[in-house]
């Protein structure tokens, strides 16, 4: 379209807002290579020291690794559960069907603070110590609506008669699911898994209530915000994480487009 090359007010608005959205991110990049500890102008000297120190800061790396574990575990669980509910929703008819689907989507609208304190009460009553597991459980619950909706929208596009054909040829139903249905919805499952991963990886509101002695990265970051001298290292890590997240997102897009 020719219009994209003309400088209309709309184009100006778009790129103006984009600039504003990127301003804080640019600041982060800038302060990750600034030699001064204080986060104010003028920039003194460029340095990669913070990145070097980052790889010596055990606590920061441990927190990042914790986030990675929680995100991996909860996104896998949410993808498996989401696939199950999607199959139940579109390939079965049973009495509690609508109820189950509603329950699986409901975490999308329950405020995180409500779910956070509710799970806190549950784990206290059961005498379960707060840990990475309790955070992972909460993240699985909130990621389930996303995985369900992504997978269900792809599964809805396939005719169930493909499965009937497989069963007429002698496959039992688990085999049909494994050999016919799962390969068809695999791209959606990967995209759902990546979405669930990003939902968990950056999540703070639930993790703050449910973390024990082992913090995830956002929880650790929050605890360090008071100590100004630690900030440049955290910012350096954040920049690396942003690059990592972007790579993941680009892979997800490629997978989705290759369908």
């Amino acid at each position: 379209m020719n219009a994209s090359r003309r400088l209309t007010p709309l184009t100006l608005y778009y790129f103006g807002l984009i600039t504003l959205l990127y301003l804080p991110i640019a600041l982060l990049f800038l302060f990750s290579v600034n030699s001064s500890v204080s986060l104010s102008f003028p920039i003194k000297q460029l340095t990669f020291d913070w990145y070097r120190k980052l790889f010596e800061a055990d606590a920061v790396l441990r927190a990042a690794r914790n986030s990675l574990f929680v995100a991996l575990g909860s996104s896998l669980a949410a993808t498996v559960l989401g696939t199950m509910v999607a199959i139940l929703m579109l390939r079965y008819k049973f009495r509690a069907q609508n109820l189950l689907v509603a329950l699986a989507v409901l975490p999308l609208i329950v405020p995180y603070i409500v779910l956070g304190v509710a799970l806190l009460i549950l784990f206290s009553i059961l005498h379960i110590d707060r840990s990475l597991w309790t955070i992972g459980i909460a993240h699985t619950v909130v990621a389930l609506p996303y995985t369900l909706l992504i997978i269900a929208s792809r599964l809805a596009g396939f005719d169930p008669s493909i499965e009937e054909a497989a069963m007429d040829l002698g496959a039992d139903y688990p085999t049909t699911l494994r050999r016919v249905v799962l390969p068809l919805i695999l791209p959606a499952m990967i995209s759902a898994w990546l979405t669930a991963f990003t939902v968990s990886f950056d999540e703070f509101a639930l993790a703050l209530f449910l973390s024990g002695t082992q913090p995830t990265f956002p929880v650790y970051l929050f605890s360090q915000l008071r100590f100004a001298s630690r900030l440049p290292i955290m910012i350096a890590l954040a920049v690396l994480m942003m690059i990592g997240t972007l790579t993941l997102v680009f892979i997800a897009e490629k997978v989705r487009k290759s369908e």
Binding site: L21, Y22, L88, I109, P111, V114, G170, L221
Partner: protein, 297 residues
């Protein structure tokens, strides 16, 4: 293994009916144990008289928590303020995001998908760090203040930029804009472009085309975007914690306080139940206004 087993392909020869329970029980148990049960326990907790005694021991239900909640006007006022704040943030985010979605859907042409990624990158950046970057920008020794002092516009650093409700509102609008653009974009992309040609053929000017075709047809996306911002914002407690200070607290912060500092879980549960009820009522209204299913297409 017999001949028949091998033909079944290792699925234990189960038919659809028998397979059902293997697929049904895991999500049912998971949601029952980690979603329904906690909310029920929270509801039960809100009828406890106090924190004393083992949590598992039965107690006589009491309405004391709700009674003292009802008697304290400041909680209701804060709930109202939080709802109004969320309303303002939702409307602002949608209004600011609409031109972005419009540009992407109807003006960006073949580069649209690249521009879309460009818009979404900030959303995939650590939320805490983006908010922290705002603090770098707006703090007393921050970028804006040091710049303004340097230029000579102000002598003393501005302190009104942070730790109040305005800072919370601005930060949240900023955070939500890319997110709000998505459902609007989806709605705009569904519009059949032949409608524009038809309208142009019939002599409709661009502005009239917008008010008579584009806007009405994109309204479901606009409503969806609004509620996708509004609903999580009512329960927000993190942003006030970071940039709001005590003057910028929202209802969610009070709940958090009763579960952490004040350690009065029964009262916190009652506050939390009110929040849940308020959200559910608002969602019920939302589903009256729009078909929520189209959010996810």
């Amino acid at each position: 293994m017999g001949e028949g087993d091998r033909r079944s392909g290792g699925g234990w020869g189960l038919d659809r009916r028998a397979t059902f329970w293997f697929i049904y029980l895991p999500p049912l148990l998971w949601l029952g144990l980690f979603f329904v049960l906690p909310v029920l326990l929270m509801a039960a907790f809100s009828f406890r008289p106090d924190m004393r005694g083992d949590f598992l021991r039965l107690w006589t239900p009491t309405l004391n928590q709700y009674a003292s909640l009802a008697a304290t006007g400041s909680y209701w006022r804060l709930l109202g303020i939080s709802a109004l704040t969320a309303l303002g943030i939702g409307i602002s985010a949608v209004v600011l995001a609409y031109p972005l979605a419009y540009f992407l859907a109807l003006r960006a042409g073949h580069r649209a998908s690249f521009y879309l990624v460009l818009l979404l990158v900030p959303f995939w950046t650590s939320y805490l760090l983006r908010v922290m970057a705002w603090k770098i920008l707006l703090g007393t020794e921050g970028v804006l203040n040091s710049f303004l002092t340097y230029v000579g516009i102000i002598q003393e650093p501005l302190t009104a930029l942070l730790y109040n409700r305005t800072a919370v509102i601005l930060t949240l609008i900023y955070v939500w804009i890319p997110f709000a653009a998505l459902p609007i974009l989806a709605a705009l992309q569904r519009i059949d472009t032949a409608l524009f040609e038809a309208a142009a053929d019939l002599g409709a000017r661009p502005f009239r085309q917008f008010t008579r075709i584009t806007l009405p047809l994109s309204l479901p996306g606009v409503f969806a975007a609004f509620f996708m911002v509004f609903i999580p914002t009512i329960g927000e407690y993190v942003t006030p914690l970071l940039v709001g200070g005590s003057r910028g607290f929202l209802y969610g912060n009070i709940i958090q306080d009763f579960f952490t500092k004040a350690a009065n879980w029964p009262f916190g549960s009652a506050l939390s139940m009110i929040m849940l009820a308020a959200t559910m009522i608002l969602v019920a209204i939302a589903t009256r206004l729009i078909d929520l299913r189209q959010l996810f297409e």
